[in-house]
């Protein structure tokens, strides 16, 4: 069973989703919780079985689909994808468990299960076409969730979300086809296998163009400034569960793809584009944080804060050293947990008041003390307080990039200031002060169902903040192999020097090669 665990992880939710159509409407929630729990336990088993001392791919599966074009069904995970898969199954489980009463609950749960399949699929695929298929498939359930359960502007938001990301990924597809073509020219064989592609050393000029093509697809997904405007609409209109999954997992596809594709395939281009991307990241961090500060709707604050945090992740990724990339991968997990929790928390108050405007609240700390406490913890995690999960990622990402540039890191570090500004002022508006609105005086505090979702997130936030080792160590090992691969593959001397060589003995020889 362990040999095919990845396939099981991918197709079990799909199978369950199909069976879901025949399940009775009253028991569909229990069915959904059961399925996602089983899936989560399977992913935990995957983690348990994962050998963290090995840096390469594990649990590989390889079935040829179209041999003539080298398209195959290749799965495999390393330390980077492992935890994002666990995060996806975990967030889906939490999301379904905390699902509030909605109309057409059956459709919702089936959609979520299909979404879960696509998420696991994206992170487990090692074949470009397979990856692309899951990547695009993931849009469909999300489109449906926003379009069917969203707010008043849901059609606009969902169409924008779909077309924007879809347009970006088409450019990425062209890039993939070109990459395969180059591979064909170099070897005489077609292949879309990522591990085969890793072995190919491309000339710089090809790298620049291919990097740019992939970049468009990934950057829109992340979303990077100035491609971020679909996100506030999507979050603003999506139901709570949609926002949670969108922020926690779907955005990570973009950053994950940077680590999986852009860095190891095009190391020289990564070095070449490092500074422009870092500048975009800095703009993302500061600009969106300021936009977040100006928001009146608390969900939009969290939405824009996501963009700001994604900036830090991008910066860490393009630090191109072990500290930075490990930090950014860790921050992906951390941001998944924290932003997921924040969106759940916003959902809690939205269920009670059916508004998300902060001016409608005020003084909630005395009405809903437990809610205020949990929100406070998550807010502080989002601000990046040490001993919370976010700090580890942010610290390492910024630390990593400091090796590349002093000024940019200084500017990016402003994140910790502007982050505090918008978060604290929102918290103050919603929770502090006197209770002024009559409706707010008798709001019930968080109930059991909400606590079931929130408490695990709080525990993870603090546990991994204090003791990040169980996750950081496997990530570190896999990142080390990527960095070493990049160093070995780099063509230009600038890239050789910008990407550290981890094998110390080879320093001399590789330097000689570079000259």
């Amino acid at each position: 069973m362990l040999d095919h665990i990845l396939s099981i992880l991918i197709f079990f939710p799909l199978l369950a989703a199909m069976l879901g159509f025949v399940v009775n409407k009253d028991s569909i929630r229990a069915y959904g919780i059961t399925v996602t729990t089983v899936e989560f336990i399977l992913s935990l088993w995957l983690w348990y079985a994962y050998d963290s001392s090995v840096s390469g791919m594990q649990f590989m599966e390889n079935i040829e689909l179209i041999p003539a074009f080298g398209i195959a069904y290749i799965l495999g995970i390393d330390g980077i994808s492992l935890f994002i898969i666990v995060l996806s199954t975990f967030i889906t489980m939490i999301g379904i468990a905390s699902l509030t009463d909605t109309k057409r609950v059956k459709n919702m749960i089936i959609t979520l299960l299909v979404l879960e399949m696509t998420m696991v699929g994206v992170f487990a695929s090692l074949d470009a076409i397979l990856f692309y298929v899951f990547w695009e498939l993931s849009l469909v359930p999300m489109l449906y969730i926003i379009g069917a359960w969203g707010g008043p502007l849901r059609i606009y938001a969902s169409v924008k979300f779909f077309l924007y990301t879809f347009a970006g990924s088409l450019v990425m597809l062209v890039g993939m086809l070109f990459m395969a073509y180059f591979y064909y020219q170099a070897t005489g064989e077609w292949s879309f296998s990522l591990l085969e592609w890793y072995r190919l050393i491309l000339p710089e000029s090809f790298q620049y163009w291919l990097f740019a093509a992939f970049f468009v697809g990934f950057a829109i997904k992340v979303p990077m400034f100035p491609f971020h405007t679909w996100l506030p609409y999507a979050h603003g209109q999506a139901p709570t569960i949609g926002s949670v999954i969108l922020a926690a997992v779907l955005l990570k596809m973009g950053t994950y793809a940077f680590v999986r594709f852009s860095l190891p395939l095009f190391p020289d281009a990564a070095v070449f584009f490092m500074m422009p991307i870092a500048i975009i990241a800095v703009i993302m961090i500061i600009y969106t944080a300021m936009v977040a500060y100006a928001q009146e709707d608390i969900k939009q604050v969290v939405a824009y804060s996501s963009v700001s945090h994604m900036g830090v992740i991008i910066l860490g990724t393009f630090a191109l050293n072990v500290e930075g990339i490990s930090g950014s991968v860790f921050l992906m997990i951390a941001h998944g947990v924290v932003s997921g929790a924040l969106f759940l928390l916003v959902g809690v108050i939205y269920d009670r008041r059916h508004t998300k405007l902060m001016s409608e609240f005020g003084g909630l700390a005395s009405v809903m003390p437990r809610y205020a406490t949990i929100f406070g913890i998550m807010m502080m995690a989002s601000v990046g307080l040490p001993l919370t999960i976010n700090f580890v990622g942010e610290f390492l990402s910024l630390l990593g990039f400091y090796q590349q540039s002093h000024m940019i890191t200084l500017l990016a570090g402003v994140a910790i200031i502007v982050g505090a500004i918008y978060m604290l002022s929102s918290y103050k508006k919603a929770f502090f002060g006197e209770v002024t609105k009559e409706e707010n005086k008798n709001l019930p505090d968080v109930n059991k169902r909400e606590l079931v979702a929130l408490i695990p997130l709080v525990i993870i936030t603090i546990w991994l903040g204090v003791y990040p080792k169980p996750i950081l160590e496997p990530i570190n090992n896999s990142v080390e192999s990527i960095v070493q691969l990049m160093h070995d593959k780099a063509v230009t001397p600038e890239a050789k020097s910008a990407i550290p060589n981890l094998i110390k003995d080879d320093k001399l020889s590789s330097n000689m090669e570079a000259h």
């Binding site: 930090g327 570090g413 160590e473």
Partner: protein, 635 residues
């Protein structure tokens, strides 16, 4: 011994978590008593550790790994050496006293339990800050105390001013924390480690500009936490919090973390005397700057807050001049008498139903004898009169400045000593002497609970006798810190200086008493003067920040959102979408389903194709000729 360390460190955490269990419930005394008892345990453990350290044993333990990736390795490591044990003693002693005091002070507050939870959490963070053996651990405590300070300043969260002050404090500290973080990055990338011992061992091999950068960025971090100019405004506003909080956090412990950092990094700052000189100058400036604001303020707690700021300036002046042990000694002495002063002020506030304007008090010594004695003692100590604590510690700073030949710093500090004496006794005179002005307001003052006064008494005793511990302390810390003794070359100069200082301070006290002890008349004429207005409005700095930083930031945020994000970035995207859509709208006219029209389009297409074919044929047949023309043009 390791056990003692962990007891000292984790008792406050246990206390905090214990109290946190009760936060959702009604006030229970146990939520205050247990954390206090646990803190006392921590204090006892620290004392035992002090004894060990006095015998020359220092320990360094590693609890577990925190972060490890690439070459980075950060453990939760703790060190007990002469510096940290000194800080631990101060922190645990003052916080134990403040906890016990708070049981009385917060008696009537409905959030009693929450208060103790946060207060103990603060102590834990402070212990992490001083005990860590690496910069990352220091940063944990550094941010932790910031968090607790935020929660405690904004403790009465229904008050707009309190939550505003809390956010201001947190955000201003964050600005400095960025500097600190950059300092940490610099240390890591230049030394490859964040452990104090290893990093400081490598530092002498680094070049001067790198060291200067490290020194400056770490000092920026220290400036925020210790509220040095220009990041000082939060400290006065932080007085919105409950008074025990002001005593513990904003006088005795947290604000001195910056000084601790400089003292801890003495090996670094010894290598860069220029930065040291800058720190000393800034410290001297802040000392006078803050004292001047305290002269005219009409808020009891703010006056004490400014005096804290001023004393922190003294500490930085000493640390900057390389007299680290002197700075640390003043830190310790200051913690005792300033906490005492604040707790006394808390008693007065309670007595006066939270009135803070000393001009509305007066003559309180009759009803509040104990508080009167203790606050006077604390003020004498603060003013630096022989033989109280302040005399020994502050005089040493003056001597150090003189002996190092920094006469400008010396004279500024000397002048400030006079100002200190003046405003301290202005406050004492206004509160405890003179006519009983409070009667107009119908307030019936009463003395605080007995046990609160008893709890304060150790501080009072220490404020008196701390000076006598100087030699023991000196011998202990100079194991670690440079043991420079500051001797003025000739004995005559020394005596003239000491006695002169004492006389100057004495005169200032006398002047304050003379001015404020009798009938206090509102000096309208004086209040209209420019210098009064400047001082009363804190040099218009808060106003400046509000007008030129906070407001533009808010406005810029709105512009970014409404103008740039919605009207430029998003509008561009929508424009692309709508233009595609519009193109479709326009061209759908072609598909009108009329066969005749379609045939016409077909013919038009045919014609275009024919023309193109003809053109290509022409070009292809005349290619050589065209190429030669093209080349001629190029040449």
């Amino acid at each position: 011994m390791e056990m003692l360390l962990y007891i000292a460190l984790f008792s406050p955490l246990v206390g905090s978590l214990f109290a946190a269990l009760f936060t959702a419930q009604k006030k229970t005394l146990i939520a205050g008593v247990v954390p206090s008892a646990l803190l006392f345990t921590s204090f006892v453990a620290s004392t035992l550790l002090l004894i060990q350290v006095l015998q020359g044993n220092t320990i360094n333990v590693e609890l577990m790994t925190w972060m490890a990736t690439g070459n980075l390795y950060i453990p939760f490591g703790f060190v007990i050496d002469q510096i940290s044990v000194t800080m631990m003693m101060v922190v645990t002693l003052v916080s134990t006293i403040v906890h016990i005091y708070s049981i009385g002070y917060m008696d009537h507050d409905k959030s009693f339990n929450r208060f103790f939870s946060w207060l103990s959490a603060f102590v834990f963070s402070m212990m992490v800050l001083v005990m860590s053996d690496n910069f990352a651990g220091l940063f944990i405590g550094w941010e932790g105390v910031g968090l607790c300070s935020w929660a405690l300043i904004g403790f009465w969260y229904h008050k707009e001013s309190a939550t505003w002050a809390a956010n201001e404090a947190f955000i201003m500290n964050r600005i400095a924390d960025l500097g600190m973080l950059i300092g940490i990055f610099l240390v890591y990338w230049n030394t490859g480690t964040l452990q104090y011992a290893e990093a400081f061992a490598i530092m002498p091999t680094l070049d001067n500009s790198t060291l200067t950068m490290i020194g400056i960025f770490l000092f920026i971090g220290a400036m925020g936490k210790s509220a040095q100019f220009p990041l000082h405004t939060w400290l006065a506003d932080a007085m919105e919090g409950p008074t025990p909080v002001s005593a513990l956090i904003h006088a005795a412990t947290m604000v001195t973390a910056g000084v601790y950092l400089i003292v801890r990094s003495n090996e670094l700052y010894d290598l860069i005397p220029n930065v040291g000189l800058f720190i000393a100058s800034l410290g001297a400036f802040v000392a006078m700057f803050a004292a001047s604001m305290a002269l005219v303020n009409r808020d009891m707690k703010r006056i004490i807050a400014y005096s804290t700021l001023s004393q922190l300036g003294y500490m930085f002046a000493a640390a900057g001049l390389g007299a680290y042990w002197v700075a640390l000694f003043h830190l310790v002495a200051h913690a005792f008498f300033k906490a005492l002063l604040f707790l006394g002020a808390g008693n007065v506030m309670h007595a006066m139903s939270d009135e803070l304007d000393p001009f509305k008090m007066g003559g309180l010594r009759k009803v509040m004898k104990g508080t009167f004695i203790m606050m006077t003692l604390a003020s004498v100590a603060l003013a630096g009169l022989f033989p109280l604590a302040g005399f020994f510690s502050k005089d040493l700073i003056l001597e150090a400045a003189f002996a190092e030949h920094h006469f400008i710093i010396y004279s500024v500090l000397l002048f400030t000593a006079g100002l200190t004496a003046f405003y301290s006794f202005r406050l004492v005179a206004l509160i405890f002497h003179g006519e009983e002005r409070y009667k107009i307001f119908g307030i019936h003052p009463h003395e605080a609970y007995k046990f609160m006064l008893v709890a304060m008494s150790p501080l009072a005793i220490l404020a008196v006798i701390a000076g006598s511990l100087k030699m023991t302390y000196f011998e202990m810390v100079t194991n670690l810190l440079p043991a420079t003794e500051y001797h003025i070359h000739s004995h005559t100069t020394y005596w003239i200086m000491t006695i002169g200082t004492q006389l100057f301070v004495g005169l200032a006290i006398a002047f304050a008493y003379k001015k404020y002890i009798g009938k206090v008349k509102e000096d309208k004429e004086f209040e209209k003067r420019f210098c009064y207005k400047v001082l009363f409005n804190q040099y218009y700095i808060p106003h400046f920040y509000d007008e030129y930083i906070v407001k533009p930031y808010r406005e810029l945020s709105y512009i970014f959102w409404k103008q740039i994000d919605l009207k430029i970035v998003d509008a561009t995207v929508d424009f692309i979408g709508t233009s595609l859509y519009k193109t479709g709208e326009v061209t759908r006219g072609v598909q009108n389903g009329n066969l005749s029209t379609m045939l016409k389009w077909m013919v038009a297409g045919l014609a275009v194709l024919l023309v193109l074919a003809a053109m290509f044929t022409l070009v292809a047949t005349n290619a050589d000729f065209l190429l030669s023309v093209y080349h001629d043009l190029g040449a």
